[in-house]
């Protein structure tokens, strides 16, 4: 128990990922859903870094850099769309976002 | 145990106390310097030449009533000052006050990046303070502040890249040692970067002429309008701690830190009598004085002008500086 192996990190990562999944599936506020997605990305990152450490191979860390870059892009575009949507419909409730055009 | 826990803890305690005390005296210094610039005397009543003002002011702030507005978001309202002070103090962890291990808490290989990332957390204190106050002026101010801090952070980070290129390391101690090895302060190799960082530092610490987030005459105090007492003094501490840390980092990166002038000129070796940390402190004071001098002299920029300078002036120059540094680095 006191020795921390990669499995520990993997379990932590899985738990965090599940929290993110629950957030996406249960919450209706799209901003919180975005944040839950960020949680999931972080869970993946923890996994990648842990394995990079285990395998003494930096490729995992390289991947994390890309994931962070993509997360930044996702947040920018996603929140941009959200703002544009909010301006027209005055809602951030995902249940009300059921039209493809307005 | 002694090496890994006790000594670092002792260092941290000493450092924190030193910062807090120096902040109070820095406020006094600022009042005095500005007063002299304006042909006044400044505080004169408490103690000889008003020296004890530095002690009385914090006591006053602590004893004052701490008001929380009824409609404020209580949790964030309390959290915001802490979020703004903690990063300012944490940033000191990577600031070496001398080449010897005794003089710094930690010399990590990503020291400069750590400094940048920690100061970027400080923006939360300001945004959340404005939001949690549930009041219009603080909200406007916090929107201004966050836009300003993020923009100038980009400019400063990009500028520092050219310094990193020159030194080839991210460690603070390493950068100073690289200056010793190169035999010249980077302020002379990278004068453009130095100027950019100074401007960025003014903007990141919300000082005149970039003090829009707290512009008293426009926004009645800005993001801390609704704060009083101890929580207000935390913001105060954070601002001044930021000024000190940014002065220290500028001194380390561009003015050779604890190195004497012309560190490789043998003829000036007699200057080594003065210990390194005194050199560094002297340089820090020089920058602090510069901050105060500017405050006494310049008016305030407008919001759109500030953003224009940040995005259309500083960032392109910083990028060009990186390119030029890279080319020179490859050629030499």
């Amino acid at each position: 128990m006191l020795e921390i192996t990669t499995a520990h990190y993997t379990i932590l990562s899985a738990a965090l990922f599940s929290i993110g999944v629950i957030g996406v599936l249960v919450r209706r506020n799209i901003i919180i859903i975005f944040m839950a997605i960020e949680l999931m990305l972080n869970a993946v990152n923890i996994n990648l870094v842990a394995h990079a450490e285990q395998l003494q191979n930096l490729i995992g860390q390289v991947f994390v850099v890309f994931v962070i870059a993509v997360a930044a892009a996702e947040a920018a575009v996603g929140l941009g769309i959200l703002l544009a949507f909010y301006r027209n419909k005055e809602t951030v409730n995902i249940d009300e976002m059921n039209v493809m055009r307005w | 145990m002694l090496d890994t826990l006790v000594i670092p803890l002792l260092k941290i305690v000493v450092l924190l106390n030193a910062i807090l005390i120096s902040v109070t005296f820095m406020v006094l210094m600022e009042r005095k310097v500005i007063a002299w610039a304006q042909s006044r005397l400044g505080p004169m009543r408490v103690g000889p030449y008003g020296v004890l003002q530095a002690i009385v002011d914090p006591i006053k702030l602590i004893l004052k009533e701490d008001i929380t507005p009824v409609k404020a978001d209580k949790m964030l309202f309390s959290l915001a000052p802490i979020l703004s002070l903690v990063p300012a103090l944490v940033a000191f962890a990577v600031v070496p006050f001398g080449g010897d291990e005794l003089f710094y808490v930690a010399d990590i290989n990503v020291g400069l990046l750590f400094f940048l990332s920690v100061t970027s957390i400080g923006v939360y204190g300001i945004i959340l303070a404005g939001w949690a106050s549930n009041s219009k002026y603080p909200l406007l101010a916090s929107l201004r502040a966050s836009a300003q801090l993020i923009s100038y952070e980009i400019a400063v980070t990009m500028t520092l890249v050219s310094v990193i290129l020159t030194s080839g390391t991210l460690s603070m101690v390493g950068i100073v040692e690289a200056q010793l090895a190169d035999g010249v302060w980077y302020g002379f190799i990278q004068p453009v970067a130095f100027v950019l960082v100074m401007i960025g530092a003014l903007a990141e610490t919300n000082r005149v002429p970039f003090d829009l987030p707290e512009a008293e005459t426009e926004l009645t105090g800005g993001f801390h309008t609704e704060y009083s007492g101890m929580r207000f003094s935390l913001f105060f501490l954070a601002e001044y701690a930021n000024i000190i840390v940014i002065s220290a980092v500028t001194a380390l990166l561009f003015f050779g830190g604890w190195l004497r002038p012309f560190p490789n000129v043998e003829a000036l070796a007699f200057l080594d009598i003065i210990p390194g940390w005194i050199w560094l402190f002297g340089k820090i004071f020089l920058f602090l004085y510069l901050f105060m001098w500017i405050r006494a002299t310049l008016p305030r920029y407008r919001y759109d002008q500030l953003m224009r300078i940040g995005w259309k002036l500083l960032i392109p120059i910083a990028l060009a500086n990186i390119v030029v540094t890279g080319i020179v680095k490859v050629l030499v």
């Binding site: - | 500005i34 610039a37 304006q38 042909s39 006044r40 219009k136 002026y137 406007l140 201004r144 005149v208 002429p209 003090d211 829009l212 512009a215 008293e216 005459t217 426009e218 926004l219 009645t220 405050r295 006494a296 002299t297 310049l298 008016p299 305030r300 920029y301 407008r302 919001y303 759109d304 002008q305």
Partner: protein, 373 residues
């Protein structure tokens, strides 16, 4: 109360109340600003917080007692208020004021202009963030106040004139002190200019901000430096000379762009012109009485008149109706320059940013005591 004040703006956009307690509204002025982001979309000016009914009070005061009331209008330029009122009553009474009194009045009015402009410069620069100019300007204003104190014993509300002349002759040696002050002031003006005139930030903050064209400014009834800043040649001292201004040589600075920077330059130049006028007046100060032949009981014949002078803020007019019977005016109306200039605020600030609002309040140079009376 039955009357419900209708909402001035719908609340969808950010509406902020600037004032009545705000550090840079120069008194208890309240601006209801409707903002789109930081840009001002609409503005409503609310005033009257220091309305003391000076016009109504005057209807029940003796002619001489009203001089005291005029002190309280533009309290940073009390002497010009006194002057305007006394001249109007003198016009109504058809009293000749001795030449010496007119000269001293001119000196006082110009000193007052310097004092008022000092206060304007300091607060205007402070609003834009230049803290040091405030203290420099107040340092010089203090000298003006000292001179006034020596002349009439008061530092703010002077009550320094009487109908028909002056209450006091100048103290001995006072003229030398005024001369010395003029010399000091001349050396201090470059200090202000050094801090501001060519300062890049100052230029960016004031150039092209609050531009108003000459015809617009005229139609809006702006007066004083804001009107001259738009290039309209209008100075009561030249157009309708009063006191002893027709005997002096001075220039009226005019702006070209009509922006805040022009108004700033104009006021700075007015410092110099005021010094020039004071010097001329001191050189030619005639001997003679300081009080004209005024009846013991002031009772102007029935009639009405309007008389304006150039106060530091602009055209300060008094419209007085006498019914020919009482020892008080039947109606006294003050045409306050700050009031008219404040009306020009809304066209100036709409479309600008919040930061410019304080800059523009500073540039029109209002005193709320005069706006509200």
């Amino acid at each position: 109360m039955a009357t419900q004040s209708a909402p001035i703006f719908d609340t969808d956009e950010l509406v902020i109340n600037m004032g009545p307690q705000h550090p840079s509204t120069h008194g208890v002025l309240r601006l209801v600003l409707k903002l789109d982001g930081e840009r001002v979309v609409d503005c409503d000016t609310v005033m009257g917080y220091v309305h003391r009914g000076i016009e109504k009070l005057s209807e029940n005061r003796d002619w001489t007692q009203i001089i005291l009331l005029t002190d309280r209008m533009d309290y940073v330029a009390a002497a010009t208020n006194n002057l305007g009122y006394c001249e109007t009553v003198e016009k109504l009474l058809e009293v000749e004021v001795p030449r010496r009194a007119r000269y001293i009045r001119t000196i006082l009015a110009e000193l007052q202009r310097i004092g008022s402009h000092c206060l304007w410069l300091g607060t205007h620069a402070m609003d834009i963030g230049a803290m040091t100019v405030l203290l420099y300007a107040f340092r010089e204003r203090e000298l003006v106040l000292d001179l006034f104190e020596e002349y009439c014993g008061a530092r703010l509300t002077y009550n320094s004139m009487r109908i028909g002349g002056l209450p006091l002759d100048i103290p001995s040696g006072w003229d030398q002190k005024v001369r010395a002050f003029c010399d000091v002031m001349e050396t201090k003006l470059p200090e202000y200019e050094e801090l501001l005139t060519n300062n890049r930030i100052w230029l960016e903050r004031t150039r092209g901000v609050g531009v108003i064209s000459g015809p617009d400014a005229t139609a809006l009834g702006l007066c004083g430096p804001p009107l001259r800043g738009s290039g309209v040649y209008r100075d009561v001292r030249k157009d309708e000379p009063y006191a002893a201004y027709d005997e002096f040589d001075f220039e009226v600075p005019l702006g070209t762009q009509g922006d805040t920077y022009d108004r700033y330059l104009i006021r700075l130049e007015e410092f110099r012109q005021s010094i020039r006028i004071i010097r001329q007046a001191l050189d030619g100060l005639p001997e003679g009485p300081i009080m004209g032949k005024v009846p013991r009981l002031l009772k102007p014949k029935a009639g009405e008149t309007y008389h304006a002078i150039e106060s530091p803020k602009g055209e300060l007019g008094y419209f007085i109706v006498s019914d020919g019977r009482a020892t008080n005016p039947y109606r006294l109306r003050v045409r306050p320059p700050s009031f008219c200039n404040l009306q020009g605020l809304k066209p100036l600030i709409v479309g600008h940013l919040v930061a410019d609002v304080v800059c523009l309040i500073g540039t029109i140079d209002i005193v709320l005591g005069e706006v509200d009376r």
